[in-house]
Symmetry: C2
Subunit: 136 residues, 2 copies
């Protein structure tokens, strides 16, 4: 039964891709979740914690220790936000530099994964995955 279930095949594929990510990008000492946060902060400079938590699918309390670590590593800063309750999140110059290197590795990882498919197969896979990802 298992080998005919979409959820099971999804999990196996995701595990395989995740393993490749960890053994390449992960060698820079950063996890997939942290990379996602850095990329989103770079793309949305000054974003507050709550909307960022929503964007990465975490509870806002779960984001706190993650941001603490990125801040301790010197890659990210909490600055004053738009009101006095919120923090604006910004990459530091060191964070921007580190992220550039990480993104190079991410691109190599993606290329390695995509090499298992024809270009049109990759596009079709993306389309089908997005059909599944809708939350009805």
């Amino acid at each position: 039964m298992l080998p005919q279930l979409l959820g099971y095949e999804l999990r196996l594929a995701q595990q395989a891709v995740f393993r490749d990510f960890e053994s390449s990008v992960g060698s820079l000492g950063i996890s997939a979740g942290r990379v996602g946060v850095l990329i989103l902060v770079e793309a949305n400079p000054g974003i507050a914690q709550s909307p960022l938590a929503l964007a990465v699918g975490l509870d806002r309390s779960s984001l706190v220790p993650l941001l603490d670590q990125l801040e301790e590593a010197g890659w990210l800063e909490r600055r004053a936000g738009t009101d006095r309750r919120s923090n604006g999140l910004w990459l530091t110059p060191a964070g921007t530099k580190r992220l550039a290197r990480v993104k190079t590795q991410v691109r190599a990882h993606e290329k390695r994964i995509a090499a298992r498919l024809q270009p049109q197969e990759r596009a079709e896979l993306m389309r089908l995955l997005r059909l599944l990802a809708v939350t009805p």
Copy 2:
């Protein structure tokens, strides 16, 4: 960058499918990992712990507490194995009965997920996922 990465789309799709699984099959009080173990033991009665751990992608030490719980629930038994070091794993009658109900829910879950795709899209997705899941 994130929204164009296969790994990211895979994770989002898997999360969506997993959420549906948890809210339907999970309401029977059993996790996806446990369902996988029960299905594999049913399909391979008398299987020992080490090959089962390999099959579900866990370390054999990680399987121990999981089997403990299934045994405490009365769904699974460790019996004498082929040699005196190993255990043979078997579903109890209660476990077989429970699994039948679980599998009914799993089928309904799968049907709900597959309904987001055309039948040939589902087949194509399975094929593409298997291409990714190969461990090179």
